[in-house]
Symmetry: C2
Subunit: 141 residues, 2 copies
């Protein structure tokens, strides 16, 4: 499982003109990619990392500040762009594998006490954010 | 060299309340990280990939559509968050190594004919964007 984690000052996700998820102020916008051998345990591991990693201002974490997270599925993170002009997507898990695991990340975060907003799996989404720093880390579990 | 490449519908970067770079409409917002053994040739390689990779709508590339790019330095992409709560930054090149190489990516893109906006290296920047899809790929050279 792989995540691009952006420290944001607000982020929101719109589907068909409707805002379906949003967070205000300092928090994390998390794009999550799932590969074929990912498991519920990996989803839980990613959730723990997202909740505790100290990448907010003053090296605080979401758990320190009760800062919110916007979690968005993003299969393209497993795209392979090394050869040619068109990335290949073989490493990305199919939707029926990925969706429950992205949901598990969200469920595990909420079980830890996090405030989590989400997009809509598989939908055409417009994710607007302000990356504050900027500060972006790649997390792989 | 490593990049997080987000397909955007507009992106801008603000430093001290002033917009120092912006792109409108469909394009790419590129966060670039530099490591110790990166070279000018790797910067040129990344530029060629960014210019030609077909991740815009209808599998078009920036070169196909003359779509703009916003290129922002982001050393944190070489952060290692695997252990503990605080990432380590050892793999990130120091600023005097990274800055000229990020500049080289921009120069090479412009030499290819790209319209490129940039931030201000090392400044506290607020990068606002709308990730349209969302569609995000990781590029490593």
């Amino acid at each position: 499982m792989r995540a691009v984690v952006q420290r944001v000052d607000g982020a929101s996700v719109v589907v068909d003109g409707e805002t379906v998820g949003a967070i205000d102020g300092e928090g994390l916008c998390v794009l999550v990619g799932v590969t074929h051998d990912d498991t519920k345990e990996k989803a839980a591991q990613l959730a723990r990392k997202l909740w505790s990693v100290r990448i907010l201002h003053d090296e605080k974490s979401c758990s320190d500040l009760d800062a919110p997270l916007l979690v968005i599925s993003q299969f393209t993170l497993y795209g392979d762009a090394r050869k040619g002009r068109r990335p290949t997507w073989n490493a990305a898990a199919p939707g029926d594998v990925a969706e429950p695991l992205v949901d598990e990340v969200v469920a595990q975060l909420r079980a830890l006490g996090a405030t989590v907003a989400t997009g809509r799996f598989g939908a055409q989404m417009r994710v607007s954010l302000t990356n504050d720093g900027p500060f972006t880390v790649l997390v792989e579990v």
